[in-house]
């Protein structure tokens, strides 16, 4: 049993944790940016799927994972356009629009995939690797952490830049104020509409990238309902992390760990009912919520459309 815990196994285990965590992390960072600006997007399950599907199709067509990721980001923005136009611009109900995006995203990607790939399903093959010289030679963790693709590194850099920007730039300050008190931003000469528009678009980019990462790198293929509720988990993680991107990264990794544990325990020969393994992350979340009862404080203006001068 213990010989199972070989170096290769641990390497793959760590790589799995990362592969599972990354799509969630990207989606949750995207949701965080939206929520910080006051937009609760219940549609990210759909946005992820659209990002995943467009990324998948374009990668198949062009043979380039990079272009595929780009397509995923664009798909995410297009999917979020409904939120942009109907909520940010016209001030309509976020919950309804979010649900609509989820339903349409799930439906259309599933229908399109089955129409186009039923008879000849396609796979994307292995991701391009970009081993970091030196570091990737470290035993066990080297191959797990430093033999990732360039896309992985770009995503990490993107997330870290956003974490910095949200905290330290005037863009970040404006974004946060749009979720805290949009009237303040407006009075200070900022534009609530532009700030929220930017946030929704950026959120679409990240969530779309999350979906594309899931399809291109984590799974290396698409299948209907590929996300399997990951979008809703991203919402949970966003609310737990209270707008701090570094915490989002951490909680996403914890989730990745929980997912990777499932098969790992079984391989080791530990038979825990699969249902329990599947419930585990959620039980952890609810216990965390009970213990740190207030850890899901959301921005005060979350969900509220802003109209200047309205009474």
């Amino acid at each position: 049993m213990s010989e199972m815990l070989s170096a290769t196994f641990i390497t793959v285990f760590i790589a799995t944790v990362i592969a599972q965590a990354m799509p969630l992390m990207l989606a949750a960072v995207g949701e965080t940016i939206g929520e910080q600006a006051g937009i609760l997007n219940l549609g990210i399950e759909g946005v992820m799927l659209i990002g995943a599907y467009t990324g998948f199709v374009v990668t198949l067509m062009t043979g380039s994972f990079w272009i595929g990721m780009l397509a995923g980001a664009i798909g995410g923005v297009v999917a979020n356009a409904a939120m942009l136009v109907l909520n940010v611009w016209l001030g309509l109900n976020q919950i309804v629009i979010g649900l609509a995006i989820t339903l349409i995203g799930e439906g259309i990607t599933s229908v399109l995939y089955l129409q186009n790939y039923t008879s000849s399903p396609a796979s994307l093959g292995a991701q391009p690797r970009m081993p970091i010289p030196g570091l990737s030679e470290i035993p066990v963790i080297g191959p797990a952490l430093f033999r990732q693709s360039g896309i992985f590194w770009l995503m990490i850099v993107l997330i870290l830049v956003l974490a910095f920007a949200l905290a330290r730039t005037s863009w970040g300050l404006s974004t946060r104020s749009a979720g805290q008190k949009p009237s303040s931003l407006d009075a200070a000469g900022g534009s609530v509409m532009r700030t929220r528009s930017t946030a929704v678009i950026l959120s679409g980019v990240l969530v779309g990238l999350g979906g594309a990462y899931l399809a291109l790198l984590t799974t290396a293929t698409f299948s209907p309902h590929l996300t399997n509720g990951l979008g809703f988990i991203a919402i949970v993680i966003t609310m737990l992390s209270r707008g701090r991107i570094l915490i989002v990264m951490l909680t996403s990794l914890v989730y990745g760990l929980a997912v990777a544990m499932g098969p790992a325990l079984q391989v080791i020969g530990f038979t825990v009912p699969a249902d329990i393994i599947k419930m585990l992350p959620f039980i952890i979340v609810i216990v965390m919520l009970i213990v740190f009862a207030r850890s899901s404080v959301v921005p005060p203006a979350l969900g509220a459309p802003y109209t200047r001068g309205a009474r």
Partner: protein, 532 residues
């Protein structure tokens, strides 16, 4: 060196008209704002003062009319244009983000990519020097007292260098000390050559701080007292002129009370004649402490006695436990220790509805969100505390006729100006909403009413009416626990005044002569130290 863009340019408003559905808020208003002067804007609630300011600030667009600076017409199409033109506004409702630090609040709207904390700190120091105040740049806005919040707001209004500073009702929540502070700051700003617009409901302030006065009524500019005139007027003359403009023909109805309305005289109350000691005790708190849920200040170990027909004032800086005390008495907040006795019965454990039935009522200071449900009709709001009770509900089902009849009765009795009982309460003006609260709370067997800041933000006439309602209530044997930050109001109404500070009662003064204000002031200064 303080950077301002002050020039000698006059800001001229010409023919400003702005209508909202059903109301013309500004009707052909013209006025000039001159650098180096404080221009006071007065008028009843809803006269259109804030609307005019919103137009200057770019928050509203006029239907017609122009704003020009130094002769050039400026289209203030957004707050950004206003800021760029050096128009800084402190709005009636705070625009600070509570969860941000002072510095973050100030840097909001700054250009550039990175937040430049160093430069911002330097600018804050400059402005603090100019205003003569001290501000901790890293404190959270929500942790500041109201006076300090206002200082931050002023700093924010002047952040990018300004030629005009507009203050919309800055004094209504401040203590006398803080108002004095503010006056000094305004004087310094004026000395820098900036123009200042000041909105207030208190004529004394207008006279003390203003260089000239404009009066709005129903959206129109109905009177202007120029700098030269104001300089020659005595305080009394100025008040007469303002009141005449403000109320027009109504002044006849207001009559003798005009001066009282103006809050001009040093208020005091004749209480010697009443011997309260012989009256039965209505409410007694014995060592009561409250236990709230939020970040709100709780009261600790409060003991007080309130007798039949008595108005007991509670003075103090806002946020020192007034909410906790009112809610404790009303039953909205549980007592963690101590007991509450009402008419000889222990009510510590009874809830809001139980106390309501006993005759304990509460007029909250949050009339819009707590006191009324804006989306529901005036009629429902008038019976909202009697849900399920006869005759408005029978076996659980609402009886619209009974509700309507009761609503009509109260609307008449309290003169609530509403198109119909079915109108949504949220569309009424602040004064009328306050009347809904009073009508609801004082009717149907009220024996004790807790009123929290009953006249906050209301105009002279409404203030007067509200105060009259409360005095009448007490005269008929009702007891009033009056919590207010307005010392004049406390002195005018109360028989006795206690001072609250950080959740504790720190002193008690009988309101029986001219010295009351000073005594209360002393207790309050003790309280102010360290907080403001």
């Amino acid at each position: 060196m303080v950077t301002t863009t002050a020039t000698s340019d006059v800001i001229s408003l010409r023919g400003i008209t702005k209508a909202f559905p059903g109301v013309v808020a500004n009707d052909d208003v013209s006025l000039d704002i001159v650098p180096g002067q404080v221009h006071c804007l007065l008028g009843e609630n809803g006269a259109g003062k804030s609307t005019l300011i919103s137009i200057l600030a770019g928050m509203q667009q006029p239907d017609s009319g122009t704003v020009s600076i130094g002769g050039t017409v400026v289209d203030i199409s957004s707050p950004k244009v206003a800021v760029d033109n050096g128009i800084g506004v402190v709005h009636q409702h705070s625009t600070l983000v509570p969860a941000f630090t002072v510095l973050e609040n100030l840097m909001l709207g700054d250009g550039g990519v990175l937040l430049d904390e160093k430069r911002a700190t330097r600018r804050l120091e400059e402005l603090a020097g100019l205003l003569g105040v001290e501000i901790d740049p890293h404190a959270l806005a929500s942790d500041l007292g109201l006076g300090q919040q206002q200082q931050v707001e002023i700093a924010k209004a002047m952040w990018k260098g300004s030629r005009l500073l507009v203050l919309d009702e800055p004094t209504s929540m401040l203590t006398p000390q803080a108002i004095e502070h503010l006056a000094e700051s305004i004087a310094r700003v004026k000395a820098e050559g900036l123009a200042v617009v000041l909105i207030t409901h208190k004529l004394r302030e207008a006279y003390a701080m203003g260089d000239c006065v404009t009066i709005l009524r129903a959206g129109r500019n109905v009177g202007h007292i120029s700098t030269e005139e104001l300089a020659t007027y005595s305080e009394q003359q100025a008040q007469d002129a303002i009141l005449a403009a403000m109320f027009g023909e109504d002044i006849v109805a207001v009559g003798d009370e005009a001066t009282e309305l103006a809050g001009a005289t040093e208020a005091s109350r004749e209480t010697a004649a009443i011997d309260f000691a012989s009256r039965p005790v209505r409410l007694e708190l014995r060592g009561a402490s409250s236990r709230g849920a939020g970040r709100d200040v709780d009261v600790e170990d409060v003991s007080l006695t309130l007798r039949e027909g008595e108005i007991l004032g509670i003075a103090g800086i806002d946020g020192h436990g007034q909410n906790a005390l009112s809610e404790l008495v009303a039953g909205q907040r549980p007592a963690s220790t101590g007991t509450l006795v009402f008419d000889g019965d222990d009510i510590t454990r009874s809830g809001v509805r139980g106390r309501q039935r006993l005759g304990i009522r509460y007029v909250t200071d949050d009339r819009l969100h707590e006191g009324t449900v804006g989306s529901m009709s005036v009629a429902v709001n008038l019976v909202i505390k009697r849900i399920g009770e006869q005759p408005f509900w029978r076996s659980g089902r609402i009886q619209p006729k009974a509700v309507d009849a009761e609503a009509k009765r109260l609307i008449d009795e309290y003169g609530i100006r509403t198109p119909s009982p079915a109108t949504r309460a949220g569309t009424l003006s602040g004064g009328n909403i306050q009347k809904i609260l009073l009508a609801r709370e004082l009717t149907n067997g009220a024996r004790l009413v807790v009123v929290n800041k009953p006249t906050y933000g209301l105009d002279l006439k409404t203030v007067h009416l509200v105060r009259e309602i409360l005095t009448d209530f007490a005269a008929q044997g009702g007891s009033v626990l009056l919590l207010s930050t307005d010392l004049d109001e406390l002195i005018e109404l109360s028989h006795r005044i206690q001072v609250i500070s950080r959740g504790r009662l720190v002193g008690s003064v009988v309101n029986d002569g001219p010295g009351t204000a000073e005594k209360v002031g002393q207790y309050m200064t003790g309280a102010i130290e360290g907080t403001d």
